[in-house]
């Protein structure tokens, strides 16, 4: 095997050839600024319009409810800070969960410093929030609920529709970070009562640095980036035309092949989980056993540390990721793994393999084989394993 085996699709994906092909003319040929009035700019204007339609269609929104951004983090920050700023006189309480992406968590922590009150909901061992707890935590002051659609680390899918119903009932806005869900799960913002939704192109075979925020018609929000009249006065800046075209194409492709890909990837995922559990002792599946993203596998390998696992996999050209603190140089392992109740030392030994549309059964067999050897080697080196063996 000379080719890299890429199993980190939750981190990012390659741009599809078809997507790049649609983007290319907008660099050197149709380069007009969409805000200009001459003919050249029509190409960019029409291209953005088409992308907006494609994105809207994918989540059953209206074209005018889609605002392009520079990615998932900007969308999350805009949704949260934009609503907080707009409704500061109405109330300053926001409800979110402990397992959100840092783009949501750190935006909330920033608001906390500015005097907002944030409720961070607990999750159960599978990473699911409690709808009861959510409803109980709503107060007169609550302006926003921000709960992710599906978790990026453990793949758990939250009860979005039910959250939307609760938000509606209490007249509170509902934002969902759907960066991991868009392109992998069916989404209907109307049926699910979603008011704001974040997405990012590079998670669905589109380019990095472009995303979108869906904002339901009629909802007022302050811009995060003020300036020119782009995006109907809500998000300033000359549009990343090629990137937007890429997002549009990528999302269209994702949803036209959704069922087929979901079926294929889910099968591979379950086969991967199964093979690991059969071949390697002392492992634990993190996240919900069934209610999870099609491509997400997250497992803890007791007695070893995640980064050393990743490095070893990398030597076999296998790309994966870990919730270990050591990949980031910080003390604590992933806040998500801690939130589902894992002890630190177990959480440090986590591995995320996230599958994409082009992974194969052969690759999985290869990965499991290598993984078994690597885990064994690292355990032989581990003083924790030694102790555990003595204890047995």
């Amino acid at each position: 095997m000379d080719k890299i085996i890429y199993m980190d699709h939750a981190a990012t994906t390659p741009v599809s050839k078809e997507v790049l092909d649609e983007m290319l003319p907008y660099f050197c040929e149709y380069y007009g600024n969409p805000s200009s009035i001459y003919y050249l700019s029509n190409y960019s204007k029409i291209a953005i319009d088409k992308a907006r339609e494609r994105v809207a269609k994918a989540i059953n929104a209206d074209k005018n409810e889609i605002y392009f951004t520079a990615g998932g983090s900007e969308s999350d920050n805009w949704a949260i800070k934009g609503i907080a700023s707009k409704f500061e006189d109405k109330g300053r309480h926001i409800i979110t969960s402990k397992i959100e992406h840092h783009a949501v968590l750190h935006a909330c922590e920033y608001l906390e410093k500015k005097g907002y009150k944030i409720t961070y909901l607990d999750v159960d061992e599978y990473g699911m929030i409690s709808l009861e707890e959510l409803e109980k935590s709503i107060t007169e002051e609550t302006i926003l609920i921000s709960i992710m659609f599906a978790n990026n680390e453990i793949g758990t899918i939250e009860p979005v529709k039910e959250i939307g119903a609760i938000a509606r009932k209490h007249n509170v806005l509902f934002h969902t970070d759907a960066v991991q869900a868009v392109g992998s799960l069916p989404i209907d913002v109307k049926e699910m009562n979603i008011d704001l939704l974040s997405m990012s192109a590079h998670k669905l075979y589109g380019p990095k640095g472009v995303g979108a925020l869906y904002v339901k018609k009629g909802i007022k929000i302050d811009p995060l980036i003020h300036g020119g009249a782009q995006e109907r006065n809500k998000r300033a800046g000359t549009e990343n035309v090629a990137g937007i075209v890429g997002l549009g194409k990528a999302i269209e492709l994702a949803y036209s092949n959704l069922e087929e890909n979901t079926e294929k990837i889910t099968k591979l995922r379950d086969y991967l989980i199964d093979s690991i559990q059969k071949k390697i002792p002392d492992v634990r599946l993190n996240g919900h056993p069934t209610n999870r993203l099609p491509g997400n596998v997250n497992m803890c390998f007791k007695y070893i540390e995640g980064e050393s696992l990743l490095l070893s996999l990398d030597m076999h050209k296998i790309a994966a990721s870990s919730g270990s603190a050591c990949t980031s140089g910080s003390l604590d392992p992933s806040h998500v793994l801690l939130a589902i109740g894992l002890p630190h030392e177990i959480a440090h030994g986590s591995l995320r393999l996230s599958l994409g549309k082009d992974n194969t059964k052969e690759e999985i067999d290869f990965v499991v084989e290598k993984l078994a050897t690597i885990v064994d080697r690292l355990r032989q080196m581990s003083p924790l394993y030694e102790k555990a063996q003595e204890g047995k």
Binding site: E305, P333, M381
Partner: protein, 146 residues
């Protein structure tokens, strides 16, 4: 991210294992923080004649342990006491700033094993009296600036 030396010591670590009836054993780190190093020393006539380690931790923790064992093997106690985390890191052709704590851990594991030897054998080792091993602070030591 890592130098070739680090990768070599990670993939082919030297002196992995345990020493039965070791003269000194030092364990530092904390599973909570994601790294534990355990070092075993065989000491004869003030010379470290054998050394082994076991490590739970990231690539640079394993590489640092491996390099540390190479650095102390055959050295006198006093020479071993001179080995700093910097020396370990340099011998590995450098470590990323966020990983410097691994070399500190290696330095401490050596000293803790020597301390253990000192206690067991009654041999006094200069400079070891007031060493503290504060696991929790380790990661903060070489934080990048911003």
């Amino acid at each position: 991210m890592y130098s070739e030396k680090v990768m070599d010591h990670f993939m082919n670590p030297r002196n992995v294992g345990e020493i039965e009836n070791a003269d000194g054993i030092g364990e530092v780190g904390n599973p909570k923080c994601g790294d534990i190093m355990k070092m075993y020393l065989k000491i004869e006539d003030g010379i470290i004649t054998d050394v082994k380690f076991k490590t739970f931790g990231c690539g640079s923790a394993i590489a640092s342990s491996s390099m540390a064992t190479e650095l102390v093997k055959g050295k006198s106690i006093q020479e071993a006491m001179q080995i700093t985390n910097k020396a370990v890191a340099e011998a590995l052709d450098g470590l990323p700033p966020v990983k410097m704590h691994c070399s500190v851990l290696a330095e401490q594991a050596i000293r803790k094993a020597l301390l253990d030897y000192s206690k067991k054998s009654g041999v006094k080792i200069e400079g070891l009296e007031d060493v503290e091993f504060d696991d929790e602070d380790l990661h903060e030591i070489h934080e990048i600036e911003d």
